[in-house]
Amino acid sequence: MFMASLFKIFSLKITFSVFLAFFAVFHAGAQNCSFTLGGHVEDADTKEKLKEASISIKETGQQTTTDDDGNFLFTGLCTGKYTVIISHTGCDLVEKTINLQKNAHIDVYLMHSRKELGNVIVEAKKTVSNTGFKKELSGRALNETQGLNLAEALNRINGVTMLQSGPTVSKPVIHGLHGSRILTINNGVRQEGQQWGNDHAPEIDPFIADKLIVIKGVDELRYGSDAIGGVILVEPRAVRNIPGYAAELNVGYFTNNRQYVVSGLFEQQLKHKPFHYRVQGTFKKGANVATPDYRLNNTGNEELSFSLTAGWRKEKFNSELFFSHFGTKLGIFTGSHFGNITDLENAIAAPKPDDVFLGQNTYKIIRPYQDVTHQLLKSKSTFYKGDQKFTILLSAQINNRKEYDIVRSSNNQRPQLDLTIYTFSEDFTWEKMRKNNFNGVAGVSMMQQDNSYSGRYFIPNYFAYSFGAYYLEKWAKHKWELQAGIRYDNKTINTTRLKFNNDTINYDFNFSTLASSFNAIYKLNAGWRLNTNISLASRAPYINELLSDGIHHGTATYEKGDINLVPEKSFNISAGIQYQNEAKTFGFEGLLYTNNIRDFIYQQPMPETPVLTIAGAFPLIEYRQTDASLNGVDFSLFLKPVAVLEWKGKLAMLNARNKKTDDWLIWMPANRLTNEITFSAKDTKTFTGTYFSAEMQNVMEQKHVPDESNGKQDYKAPPPAYSLINLNASTIIDLYKVPTTISLGVRNLLNTQYRDYLNSMRYFADEMGLNISLRLKFQL
């Protein structure tokens, strides 16, 4: 009866079979607490061995996951009745009651409730990834980034780097591309803020995520035709589907800037109603950052974020409402912010910042700073009809960005740049369950946007409307998997710029963009996998590229857009190879890519024609188009000579050319190599999941920079190569029966003095020195 009602609650249309087999193990004496419970988990219809299924015993709280062959084992169990809960991504949960009298083994056949194409999360059930390029950060790797911002976390993925403006502002860069060439999907919704700015960090609290995934290839098309660089998925952890509650508390402290972070989560699934909810929140505050030799004034940060989720889940229908608020205040290093070229050039020429910009150890943030808030309200409803699934996703986003510059008058409390953007989107998706090895998905998306500014002009007020449609089809049989998709988008932008005499200048734009992608995977034989992807993507010029016109404070440049820009078109071919031996002691992964972008939009410094203003002459930077070619390789390798020891190597290389001028492209990530050694200790009664790792990160000097013989392209030559050593250690203990993860992280162990090419602060100051972090995670 209990089982029956449980199934009713979860509305599972599943069939499952369970075989219980008892091994004839005879014990001479009554050794009560040394029994083992083993088992094996398989997919009910494909007979695929399910790895990473999570198994827990309700009564003892013991948890484990299945190995690559779908096996699991619990030891040290006493006689008695146990409830075993088995779950796996994309499958429905199974609960089994075992009366343990001797060593036992159970076989579990899980039914994938719906064979849907799903998003990449569901695809995670496969032993290998299912799209052109997919890298994910979860589990231990994600844990090690707790307390850092989104870009710093993603930076740990091979092929992903960071574009920074000082220690507080960072943006992710995928294979050399960033900004509006990357789509960030926050809990299924395309994040819409002011992502065009190099000093505009993504407005997302990484604590919301259980997984950060970077994808390229066919699945990109679900989100837009403009993902020339790739898509970042910020995936919250799956909602709880067992009645009861769960809570998690994270606290962390970082020594370098006395940063502390507190993040909590509480969720509940009601027992008699198919209703669940979750409340989550994060508070973070950091003081000024110290480099090995000096502390940088006004580099503090503050963040307050929270989210609420409520869901209703029935057999043929489920619906989820999600709200999130993200708020941050980021100090900008005072010695890097100039509204005049003479001041800027003096600061750049100095080997170290002037003493007036150094030495304060305070949490206080003064001008210049950024104050950014982002709110998202989303409703997602899914209906099932036969083997079809319909999803309606509605969302509203409000993004407000205020930039406070150093101003002449102390009476001026206003922000100098104040941008507010409202975005509404409606997505309708139709999915067909897998049938005859085929499954497809089609969708229609619409978006309406209203951007307004007050204060200094940089980009105009505008309304933007877009609509798009896509269709993807996937086919898989034996050793082959083929996927193809196509998408069309149309975007209208109507702008209004206010002029000083109350006139307006209006421009209207309309852009059509088309994208398509084809992906083929061939599993050569056990352990080997080959993957080829061909993608066409096109991105309409962004508002700042068309119409920015003003002084970019901080960098003391005058940026000017061009209304005649046309969409850029990318043709990306990638080839991947993966190998892993059967014992899982050795494996490697290689990805070769070539991304040819026609009409690539970039910023061209115009040293010959400075813009004269009352504050002096500013160097002009114009948006131009060229043809670009980005070619690179990501390679990673692991080796486990003994069970407790693992070596991991990662290499990322990129060559980025401006084909029209036959020169290098500016601001591209330097080649890098990372080596990591991990010692994992065997679990003891007190300590589980214990490991210690040491990482050496080598970043080369970027020698591929534009030729300066025809005029200055950059203020300063790229900084030299650097090496950093980072340490991580973690263990799980039971603290008053609460599983507690204790982690210690050390970044820049040797307090190395260095500067990074992709950080605009390299013109002025060094990067952060030694930073030790202590983090605790309590799971209730």
């Binding site: 509204g339 001008r367 150093i406 002449r408 109507n494 016109d549």
Partner: protein
């Protein structure tokens, strides 16, 4: 149940469309401080015509290029010079000099002329602490010559400003708001 939910979602959708398709808002204000004009007024000591020379960029940075006068002065004469800052993007034009004077201890004008310009600039007015402010000054010309003059307005963002007499024009304690170079002609 299902139809009700469908209706609700439809209602949300329509509201969204409605809000986003509202008329263009034309009441936005651009209230950020812009200095468009630097005006120098020359009153000759001992009588004569008052001269004014200015740097003028009525639409602010960008857009139409600014216009800039040459400063033409008579030889061997003394002028009492006053400086005025205006914001012409608003009507009537706002006089920013008043604000500068109110916060005299956090502002300073520097006048740097090229060697051989044959102009000596002295007698800058002081802030309440006795440190030069430079809204008014005394200019004395010599023999006929051509040269240039750079007028720089620096402000001190720190509280208190810590402005000192010995601060150079490129002091890191202060930042530039105005930097204008005039061609000067003594003829």
């Amino acid at each position: 149940m299902k139809s009700k939910l469908l209706k609700t979602t439809f209602a949300i959708l329509m509201t969204g469309l409605l809000i986003s398709s509202c008329e263009k808002d034309t009441t936005e204000e651009n209230q950020e401080e812009v200095i468009t004009t630097l005006k120098l007024t020359f009153v000759p000591v001992g009588g004569g015509t008052t001269l004014t020379y200015q740097f003028d960029d009525p639409d602010g940075p960008g857009g139409t290029a600014p216009t800039q006068d040459e400063i033409i002065l008579a030889p061997a004469k003394t002028y009492n010079v006053s400086l005025q800052l205006l914001n012409k993007t608003v009507t009537p034009a706002e006089d920013i000099t008043t604000e500068v004077k109110e916060e005299a201890d956090a502002h300073r004008f520097y006048y740097e002329n090229s060697p051989g310009s044959s102009i000596a600039i002295t007698g800058l007015d002081n802030d309440p602490n006795g440190v030069p402010l430079g809204v008014t000054s005394t200019w004395t010309t010599g023999v006929a010559a051509n040269g240039s003059l750079k007028v720089t307005l620096r402000h001190y963002p720190a509280v208190p400003p810590n402005k000192a007499a010995g601060d150079l024009v490129n002091s890191t304690k202060s930042a530039t708001d105005i930097e204008v170079v005039f061609v000067t002609k003594v003829q």
